[in-house]
């Protein structure tokens, strides 16, 4: 309904009630001066009031009119409950652990999105904000687990039409704001697993020997993501995939340790390479660097060992000092001296050297295979088949993980935010209508009663004067 038409309706409604009420009070006051209470009470009896039927009909029509005004007012002034349904909400936190801020609901970003969402033309963010009000819902607060403070998890968003927002439907506006906020919230705080959109489009740019690290990166994405969700909820099992994060992680490692290893071994055993000379040149360069790294690591290791051996035995005598552990328990602790640091360094360098040596041996074997063999068509075909199978396994597992994460987020967060219209708001609405109708009927009825009483008084006086 047009905003101004509704405003006129409200004014007429209030005017009629006010006028009827004032008339009733005026007549009552007049009657009080002239008549005793018993007379007034007698005049109010139904048998003394004429035209009750007409009054009732008029009151019915007024009831209908006020019902229209109240209904249209509530249609233009709507409310919405925005409830936070994820577990961290009761602690006043966002899903990522940061502090929750309810003012984001009316932020520029959200309101702009709401205007776009609802397709509201010629409406600015400020105009929309001027018509919105946001308060925590009474009784929705929950005690925070750690602090014990009451934290609101439900908010009431109310839209009141004004001259700027004029003919907008309140219900449309509050739902548009609610959904815009929900979309913004999910975008900000729900887990982002776009990394699972694994694509092997660029695989052709990789030579066969490089495929191990190429696929290993893709598998690592699945392993890391499944592992991180496993830490959040180790027992979760997806209803749609039947998998847990642990099972997906295991499957990813299986692919890595069998399918990928088999492919890598096959490539090395057959010396497969598409651009053999370039690849050989690169491998030799890397091999030389590895050998240099190994030599420098071993030398560094030897230096530390020599330093440890040169340490004076007296200097190495253990000295104990008193201290407290993490449980605040007193104990005697050994001090660290130079020999300890040298030993630790030597240990680390020894491990590094072992790793480098393993890479050197692999590289030497690969160089040997590439130099001694040539790529055959059969081995290339077989390798492509193995690559296709591996790709399919990785993509399939990635899809399973996506669905599992989707189910986890959906079930654990309960959608993050739920939007509901206030319950029983219609009770108040129609109660108000009945109250208006009843008030009008009461004023009209009593006004008629008192008016009739006054008329009788005037008639009697006129009669007496005549006599």
């Amino acid at each position: 309904m047009n905003y101004y038409l509704l405003m006129a309706g409200k004014i007429i409604l209030i005017f009629i009630i006010a006028a009827a009420g004032l008339r009733c009070l005026y007549l009552l006051a007049r009657c009080r001066k002239k008549f005793m209470t018993a007379n007034i009470l007698h005049a109010m009896r139904p048998s003394q009031v004429h035209g009750k039927g007409v009054l009732f009909l008029i009151a019915l029509f007024f009831l209908f009119f006020s019902g229209i005004v109240v209904s249209e007012t509530s249609r233009q002034n709507a409310s919405l409950h925005i409830a936070l349904t994820y577990p961290e909400a009761s602690q006043g936190l966002n899903p990522n652990g940061s502090r929750y801020n309810m003012s984001n609901i009316l932020s520029d970003e959200v309101l702009k999105a709401a205007i776009e969402f609802g397709g509201f033309e010629n409406l600015t963010v400020d105009e929309l904000r001027s018509s919105l009000d946001l308060v925590p819902v009474q009784g929705s607060a929950k005690a925070g687990e750690e602090s014990g403070e009451l934290v609101s998890t439900q908010f009431e968003l109310t839209f009141s039409n004004n001259r700027k927002t004029k003919n907008l439907s309140g219900r449309e506006v509050v739902f548009a704001v609610g959904y815009a906020y929900r979309n913004w919230f999910i975008g900000e705080y729900s887990p982002n697993y776009d990394v699972l959109n694994i694509s092997f489009d660029d695989i052709q740019s990789y030579d066969y020997p490089d495929l191990k690290s190429y696929f290993s990166n893709a598998i690592q994405i699945i392993c890391n993501l499944s592992s991180s969700f496993h830490q959040k909820d180790a027992t979760f099992q997806s209803p749609s995939t039947g998998e847990s994060f642990y099972s997906i992680n295991s499957k990813a490692w299986d692919i890595n340790n069998t399918g990928l290893e088999n492919l890598s071994s096959f490539i090395m055993a057959n010396g497969l390479s598409e651009n053999r000379s370039d690849y050989l040149s690169r491998l030799r360069y890397e091999y030389t660097n590895l050998c240099n790294d190994y030599r420098s690591t071993i030398q560094a290791y030897d230096v530390r060992i020599e330093a440890v051996q040169k340490y004076d035995n007296d200097m190495a005598t253990v000295v104990y000092i008193p201290t407290y552990d993490t449980d605040n328990t007193f104990y005697m602790s050994k001090t660290k001296i130079g020999i300890d640091h040298f030993s630790a360094d030597a240990d680390l360098l020894s491990n590094n050297a072992s790793t480098i040596l393993a890479s050197i041996l692999d590289g030497r074997y690969l160089l040997q295979q590439l130099e001694e063999t040539s790529t055959s068509t059969d081995s290339a075909i077989k390798a492509e088949e193995m690559i296709a199978v591996l790709k399919e396994e990785i993509l399939s597992l990635s899809d399973v993980l996506k669905k599992t994460i989707f189910d986890y987020v959906t079930l654990s967060s309960n959608g993050y935010i739920s939007l509901t219209e206030p319950a029983n708001s219609w009770l108040f609405k129609y109660g108000l209508t009945v109250a208006f109708g009843a008030a009008f009927f009461a004023f009209a009825y009593f006004g008629r009663a008192f008016g009739r009483l006054s008329e009788k008084s005037v008639e009697r006086k006129a009669g007496e004067n005549h006599e």
Partner: protein, 314 residues
């Protein structure tokens, strides 16, 4: 005589007041509409896909040539427009409102239209009662699974489907189509018959539709809510993303706390049947029942503003 004159006067006043009340109530439910937003989460799509659903227009207009309705739909920027039938009135030859509206909507987004009972009566001369479908099956035959090709049913008035196709609307009567929206393949099926005709004439079409290419979004337009609740529900293993219905006009008169009062079914009225508005998720998918945009009888829509539904799938 005086008494009769007085009585007559009061009857006249009463009738006048009732007429005034009717005019006010009818006007409030006639010349405006509101948009109801729904959101459905799906792991099939990364981008938001917006669907605008219309139903039960019954030749009503909002603004000259429905410009208010078209303008509002335009500002909502839908990716798809689904029409759940009953845009015309059976027994009324006028199809210009529906055709003109569809022509304008087709310029905004792809439009998919599934017939309702009024279109069926206008075009085929009968609603899709099981007796009528049995006759047609005997005449034109069905495929090996019992699916009836509605496009082969003889039409008594082909103007509506012809003109709709001419303006670019895809009609789905017991059939399906597929469209790519923002890189996501969306499959849409349309089905309308009374539940007695669903088995055997439509069930296999729906089964095939929902079991093939399950990575695609699956949308169904079914004019009557009978289809999901007395048809597809018996195919327990099937899943859909969204099913759009209309037909019930929101129950015409909505009583707070009780819902819609009326629902027509055949030759008689039902009372407070429920399933007349809102989004009702179930195990198989999300059913969206539109309160519709119009009415086919003189009853005023009370507390039941005409509704345009917007469903965002993301």
């Amino acid at each position: 005589m005086h008494k009769f004159a007085k009585a007559g006067k009061w009857i006249g006043v009463g009738i006048g007041l009732l007429a005034l009340v009717y005019i006010i109530l009818y006007s409030l439910g006639r010349f405006r509409f509101e948009v109801t937003f729904y959101q459905i989460e799906s792991d099939k799509t990364d981008e938001r896909i917006r669907i605008v659903g219309l139903a039960d227009l019954h030749n009503w207009t909002f603004g000259k040539d429905n410009r208010d309705l078209i303008g509002r739909i335009q500002t909502l920027e839908p990716d798809l427009i689904l029409i759940a039938g009953d845009m015309v009135v059976a027994g009324n030859d006028d199809i210009s409102v529906a055709v003109s509206l569809c022509q304008n909507l087709a310029e905004i987004a792809p439009v998919y239209y599934s017939f309702g009972n009024h279109e069926n009566e206008m075009v085929y001369g009968s609603d899709m009662l099981v007796e009528f479908l049995d006759e047609q099956a005997a005449e034109i035959g069905t495929d090996e699974y019992g699916t009836l090709d509605f496009d082969r049913i003889e039409m008594i008035d082909s103007r509506l489907p012809e003109q709709l196709k001419k303006v670019g609307v895809t009609i789905l009567n017991n059939g399906a189509a597929s469209v790519n929206v923002k890189g996501q393949q969306v499959d849409i099926a349309g089905v309308d018959n009374l539940s007695g005709g669903y088995f055997p004439y439509s069930y296999h079409m729906i089964e095939t539709f929902l079991t093939e290419d399950q990575q695609n979004l699956k949308l169904i337009i079914a004019h009557r809510p009978l289809i999901p609740y007395a048809g597809i529900v018996y195919q327990e293993e099937l899943r859909y993303d969204m099913l759009l219905c209309g037909h019930k006009h929101g129950g015409i008169i909505r009583i707070p706390g009780l819902g819609g009062m009326f629902s027509s079914g055949g030759d008689y009225w039902h009372w407070f049947t429920g399933y007349d508005s809102g989004m009702i998720p179930n195990e198989q998918g999300n059913v969206v029942i539109s309160r519709g945009l119009g009415n086919s009888n003189p009853l005023p829509r009370i507390n039941n503003v005409p509704e345009l539904v917007v469903i965002d799938i993301f």
